[in-house]
Amino acid sequence: MNTLPLLLVLLVLALFSFFLGRKRSLAVSKGNRGNYRAPNKLHSLPSYYGYSAMIYAVLPALIVLLLWSAISPVLIAKNVAASLPAEIHNAGATQVELTMNRVESMAHAGKIDPTADPIQQAAAQHYLSLAKNSQNIKTALVLLIALGGLYLGWKMISPQFRARNQVENVVKGLMILAASVAIVTTLGIILSVLFESIRFFQVVPVSEFLFGTHWSPQTAIRADQTGGSGSFGAVPLFAGTLLISVIALAIAVPLGLMAAIYLSEYAQPKVRAIAKPTLEILAGIPTVVYGFFAALTVAPFIRQLGEAIGLSVASESALAAGLVMGIMLIPFMSSLSDDVINAVPQSLRDGSYGMGATRSETIKQVIIPAALPGIVGAFLLAASRAIGETMVVVMAAGLSANLTANPLEAVTTVTVQIVTLLTGDQEFDSPKTLAAFALGLTLFVLTLILNIIALRIVRKYREQYD
């Protein structure tokens, strides 16, 4: 049986065992469940016995099923690869890999291409027979374990059996597993980018990557090709990312901060009730829309504006991408600042007014200094957003790596390069694709540091006035 029908069978079995367990509990208590003095009164409610039987029947079988489905393809592939004739093994690891790819694609399609290499045909045949065996064993094993579990669960049911505690412990265990997914995800991110990066740094030295000033990842695909040298100096990318982020923050921070101050300190409640959600619409617009806006409206506009005053502006200028990214970050900055400004206690304001200060003096000399750590935290979070933002720059910034500080020229960023290196089909092991993971690692580490500092500052600050 395939995995899906097997899962359906388990589902039916689960329902069946629930009712079986429940019925059994009522039978062993001989209908005395309400009588607290009876010697055979049930420890838990009858449905808990049902759940308990269900857990015994399904949980171990499910675990075996998942493990088997995850592991068996790997083992089968190993076995088939080992059984390939010696001449392929002698031809090197790439030859084995190539053959296995063909064999696996034939086996997954379910039919063997009669025009293929006879060795590959035989291997695919072998693969299919192994897969079939594995499937049969899996079905038998899973059903056996499920039925055995059900029998065990059924036998366990007695008036003294603490079914509720057992069921609750299992549920709690599942919840802990769910909570640990966050750890597993972080671990997965770190491992996936780290491993590929390590392989990249075996080819390209770390110092060249971090301090080299020439980026042209186009390597020769075949050995006999000349052309792309493949140099991986990432400084132009870092500089481009920095340039665009600085432009974005130069727009988002003052506008966002002033908007937050006006909304929380000056605006009438009515104005605030309308302006604040309207401003937050900006945060809900997908980044791809901003990218489209930047590439099709803002960039040509800036270009024409530049030409009108006699400046030459690249059609994919850093200014256009940065400007639009800045707009995107305004609500992010303003809502975070709004939170921290509102957290400043009213007594500080009243004290300042009592000393005869005007509102703006109070804001500038009391509220902002008091809220400064939170504002800095908001700034760092916005910076981390700007560095990691992808779609706006992919659509509006350039592809060629320019080392320049002129916002009217085209620059490229770390995220743009990751996307260009990894979209489309290409060899997974070339330095070109691995470079994307090294860039990803840099991006992850950088944003992680910014986030940790920002979260720490914000949290520390919150405790101060609570």
């Binding site: 995850a70 509720r164 609750e168 549920v171 709690k172 919840m175 802990i176 769910a178 909570a179 640990s180 997914v181 966050a182 750890i183 995800t185 972080t186 991110i189 996936s192 980018v193 590929e196 002033m258 908007a259 006006y262 909304l263 000056y266 302006a275 309207t278 401003l279 900006l282 809900g284 997908p286 980044t287 791809v288 829309v289 901003y290 990218g291 489209f292 806006f293 099709l296 409206t297 305004i330 005869g356 005007t358 509102r359 003096e361 804001i363 957003r385 990691g388 933002e389 992808t390 779609m391 659509m395 990751i418 996307v419 997974f428 994307a436 993971f437 992680l448 986030n451 940790i452 979260l455």
Partner: protein
Amino acid sequence: MSNATAIVKAGLTKRYARERRFRLFGLVSIVISLSFLAALLITIFAQGLPALRQTYIQLPVNLDPALLAVNASDSPELLQKAKYAKAIEAALIERFPGVTDRKQKMALIRGLLSKSADNELKSQVLANPKLIGSQQNFWFLANDDIDTYIKGNIDRSLPEADRRIKDFQLAWLDDLEAKGQIEKRFNTVFFTSGDSREPEQAGVLGALMGSFYTMFVTLALSFPLAVAAAIYLEEFAPKNNPLVDFIEVNINNLAAVPSIVFGLLGLAVFIQFFGVPRSTPLVGGLVLSLQTLPIIIIAARAALKAVPPSIRQAAYGMGASRMQTVFHHTLPLAMPGILTGTILGMAHALGETAPLLMVGMVAFIMSVPEGITDPATILPVQIYLWSDSPERAFVEKTSAAIIVLLFFLILMNLLAVLLRKKFERRW
């Protein structure tokens, strides 16, 4: 008047001026931010709304059996193979008999109607084979350049060399217009077909279904996991436990990790390691669910925290266990808040693009996906792909696709607001 008051009075005008200036700065920054929003929305809608209508051209076609090489009595298989393109070609030449120049003839046959014209004719004839042998008027989808001109996006006053529509084509169009054989209709193609290289045939249905399946996978995975994790962290986790603290730090960090990094994770782990098929809603949903998980967890924890302790105390007092208290009382009361957070998280996921580029959802796919393992693209990626296309007509398609995306986002946000309004309780 004492000395101090005099000093204060002297500086007062200046201080008030500074106060007014500061206040003005605040107002100006809000106005600027909102005008950016207005500019964005106005541009998109101005460009996208014309895409709701599409140009059609009426053409009398002589369904001559000799030309089609079939008879009305032939079997459907033979009718399938009839030479419809020939019939259209003949009809076009007949409609504009003056065209003799080779180049103009090519423009007439290739450039006036959409490339799908023969398919349209085929389906009409297959539906009613009796038409064969008669002269019929058919409305055909116009080519994208013609459509762009009819919508007024090509300036007639430009020199001919700079226009995509030449003078002789303008003459045809004027003639068609004078005879009422050209008109704009509601663009059903846009909502009922998948992607296409021809702008006039491209639609969003494929991308919409792709988004739907991706969102389905995302919701099915992230919602139960997030709710379970939130319940554990909020109701059961021991306080000051290093492991629990570590989980919390992780969740907060994951919520701020750049989305593209999740794409790298999906590529390296799901595709390379576990062998999940590329370009499918399954792998896209897996990546997005990891990304949405922290957002829903944070919202669900806030909702659980908002349930007052008295509810829990009352349940304990009645002899309920902790688990029973959570599942019978706390969770149902927190559910509206959790659902609101989930909808907002899903709205965020619906607009996400970058991580899906990494897992191969950028492929050009014409067919409408029918399941979570069919190759598919999603709406934001479709927008990205179209915005990259050189044809002028794709600009309005892109904007129209953005309008569709914004429509769904607004719908989800409205739903969240309504849910909050209806069930919000102040304890």
